[in-house]
Symmetry: C2
Subunit: 485 residues, 2 copies
């Protein structure tokens, strides 16, 4: 009956086509006016048989005691620790107090390890600015010579429990946010946000950039230190939760987070400091910069993700970071090893006078927000962010929805009202990324590719797949080598 009916319908109504995978097949259908439904699909692991086999084996958790079942337990534990994390901003301290070795010429930077000669323009620009700020050289030429010498050492922020947006440069004088995960005790650090436009993190190092940084070292940092110590700490998890109810996605939209932080800080600053004009200047600085909350959100995410790092057999990504040349990830079950690939050029919205031609490669530790389920992963709840990074509110919802398929769980503490209060997609599973060929979606600022210029736009970017395939292979080696038993 059903079959006869279908054939009759086919004769009467003409064929309807379900096209799976290769989208170009639909072009002929469209040209012929035929109706069709296209379903996106790619073979697992981009068709690589060995990887497909690895994914299938590692993902099969049905058999108790199997590798897959042990990885499930490890991932559950990683996510338990990540979601239990309670990041509290508790202090501001100069970098040299946290890492005394910095005064010997150590500079921290964003992303995986890189040397001066391989750095992209904006990171070199930020290095020059940091050297000028520290007074280690008096001009660009001197700074470049010093940076190329063995008197300066470079190390990723992530190797020191820290994160920095864009170039992520940290030099010894800079004030750092200190965030403690009070659930597990681990600490995370980030620099303070300078604002937008011509700023160090985007590679600018002109006199106004250095003057602003000096004011941040001399005035902002000490003021915030006094205030936060009197306040006894600010819980960042509920503040981010509230910001998500207010249209932030906590990577490129911080209108709400900055506002909520400002509300917490202002009375404390007033009570802590005698000098009215200094209080007013600090308040003016914060309220003029709707990215001020970014760096605290990043430190909160770093404190969370570090809590879930280093669990044998876990396939959860705990770091995504870029240095402008390479994109690197680290995975809970493979420890501190980086898996890197070439950084892409973000696609997005450019400031007047700039275009994709001017864009540097993807850069910054700020993808720690996506690693923790925010930013590109939470865009569905933050439709207004598309005005900054491009796309439509419908795209933003689609992005968040897609990220559920590569993540381990939904964060019950961080919900998205526009998605019926669904929790943010949290805990990128390298197996799911390789299996689905679906890469994490990151929204990001875009720096000019040359040193000294600054921000040129904001947009969207994805990591290279090789980070995930290499991580999966390493994870397979570890678990097959007995790590899980």
């Amino acid at each position: 009956m059903g079959s006869a009916h279908s054939i009759a319908a086919l004769l009467q109504e003409g064929p309807r086509v379900l096209n799976v995978g290769v989208r170009s097949f639909t072009e002929a259908l469209a040209a012929a006016g035929a109706s069709y439904l296209h379903v996106e699909w790619q073979p697992p692991a981009q068709g690589d048989p060995e990887l497909s086999r690895l994914v299938a084996m590692l993902a099969d958790d049905r058999e108790p005691g199997s590798l897959g079942a042990r990885m499930r337990e490890a991932n559950d534990e990683a996510l338990r620790r990540i979601l239990a994390a309670d990041p509290v901003w508790e202090d501001v301290r100069p970098a040299r107090e946290i890492w005394p070795e910095m005064d010997d010429g150590l500079l921290l930077h964003a992303g995986p390890p890189i040397h001066w000669e391989h750095m992209c323009g904006p990171m070199q620009g930020a290095v020059i600015g940091a050297i000028l700020l520290e007074g280690w050289a008096s001009d660009e030429e001197g700074a470049r010579a010093l940076a190329a010498s063995d008197r300066i050492r470079f190390s990723p922020c992530h190797h020191h429990g820290a994160v920095g947006p864009m170039a992520g440069l940290v030099s010894p004088s800079m004030p750092m946010f200190v965030v403690r995960n009070t659930a597990a005790g681990n600490l995370a650090y980030s620099s303070l946000n300078e604002g937008l436009g011509k700023v160090l993190r985007y590679g600018a190092f002109g006199p106004e950039v250095i003057a602003r940084l000096r004011w941040m070292c001399d005035t902002l940092g000490p003021a915030l230190q006094t205030a936060i110590r009197q306040l006894g700490g600010v819980q960042l998890k509920p503040m981010i939760a509230q910001a998500l109810q207010m249209g932030d996605e906590a990577h490129n939209r911080h209108m709400a987070g900055t506002s909520l932080l400002f509300r917490a800080l202002a009375p404390a600053l007033v009570r802590a400091l005698d000098d009215r004009e200094r209080v007013a200047a600090v308040l003016d600085f914060i309220t003029a910069n709707n990215y001020f909350f970014l760096n605290l959100a990043m430190a909160a995410c770093k404190a969370m993700m570090d809590a879930g790092h280093g669990i044998p057999c876990s396939s959860i990504v705990t770091t995504m970071a870029r240095n402008g040349v390479e994109f690197g990830i680290r995975v809970s079950g493979t420890g501190d090893r980086w898996f890197t690939g070439p950084a892409a050029i973000p696609e997005g919205v450019f400031l007047p006078g700039f275009s994709a031609e001017d864009a540097a490669g993807d850069i910054g530790d700020s993808a720690i927000t996506e690693t923790a389920g925010l930013g590109g992963f939470a865009m569905g709840g933050a439709p207004a962010v598309v005005k900054v990074v491009g796309g439509t509110p419908e795209d933003a919802v689609a992005f968040t929805t897609m990220m559920y398929s590569i993540t381990w769980t939904r964060n019950p503490n961080w919900t998205l009202p526009a998605l019926s209060f669904a929790g943010t997609p949290t805990g990128i599973d390298v197996r799911k990324v390789v299996d689905s060929n679906l890469l994490p979606l990151i929204n990001t600022g875009i720096a000019h590719k040359q040193a000294g210029i600054g921000q040129v736009g904001a947009g969207l970017v994805r990591p290279p797949m090789v980070c995930f395939t290499e991580a999966l292979r390493a994870l397979a080696d570890a678990v097959l080598g007995g790590q899980c038993t």
Copy 2:
């Protein structure tokens, strides 16, 4: 061919039913397992033939020079003035300075005119509190006796260019926000928000309520006056626009508006006032109350809607206000006449320990926000508000979408990111309400029905249809009587 095809399809696939209007007809279909699509529809003007004829006549604007065409021009002009309004908060002044006659025993209240003996419990409670605040009586009994005597006169806030949420009580000592529509010069006023719970506007009048009001008169009002005068004013239209990008709907969600106002005020307060502890106390008070921005938003809406009031032939609603007993509206083309009907009991979410049994009738001037396209009209962009007023994010989108069908235009200055940046539905047209039987949707706080208790919840409510049918009849009388010629 098409017909033969349809008949063949009918024989093969069975009937499909489109049901219009009476939903109960679908029950038999559902019971029989038939597929159907139900379309909500009611005959215009609830089936009243005379009103239907009036609506049809007044709404027909095809003929140049017809009444309908002139009403269209009038409504265009009303909306032009409303959308051009530029409400700026420019001062805080005690009510007695604005209305010197108040010291002779005049009290202002929310909604259309009402006398003491007819007032609902929470409004009587607020009157008692206001009399205690002014020292006109020393206890509840004395206050009740005074309120019932001819030594106290009552007048609607709206008769004085003012608005007040819930009971809306204004007594001479109270500080008032002064908002100027700088586009047309008209002024609007509102009281200052006390916070939630046991507060005067919800009918509470205990010692803590009076003490808080006294602090607002003595400390908060003068501090804000000094700060706003030094600041030279705060533009409220862009601030509300930004709050709408941040998940406020600007009636029962003011997390963002309060935050943005706080950011504007804090540096000004610090610079304006010597006394640090006083500044900190004022900042603490504002940041502890996420409804602080409500009253300023109401004054902004009042300044906007007054700009569009009094235009002959315009069918745009310029006031919706409730006194707890009656709901009243005023229409641009019918001047200062109120069209009233019985206030409904809001449906919503009750605070622990309370239920619908405890609820007072719909009360407050805060529906000026819906009148200006905010609140219930903008809920689609503020999904988190459903946690306060009930329903789901999907409902909230549906509410906003429905309101487009009874409003004249979309406000290009106030957009809703979640609805692809559509402008808020603005300018309720009494003809459209009567024609569609679709009433404006208002979200609102709910007061306890007895004096002295306070807030019991928040929810949704609609005006009685009679306000709109009577307004339409009066408008028809006016335009048929030659007002438009």
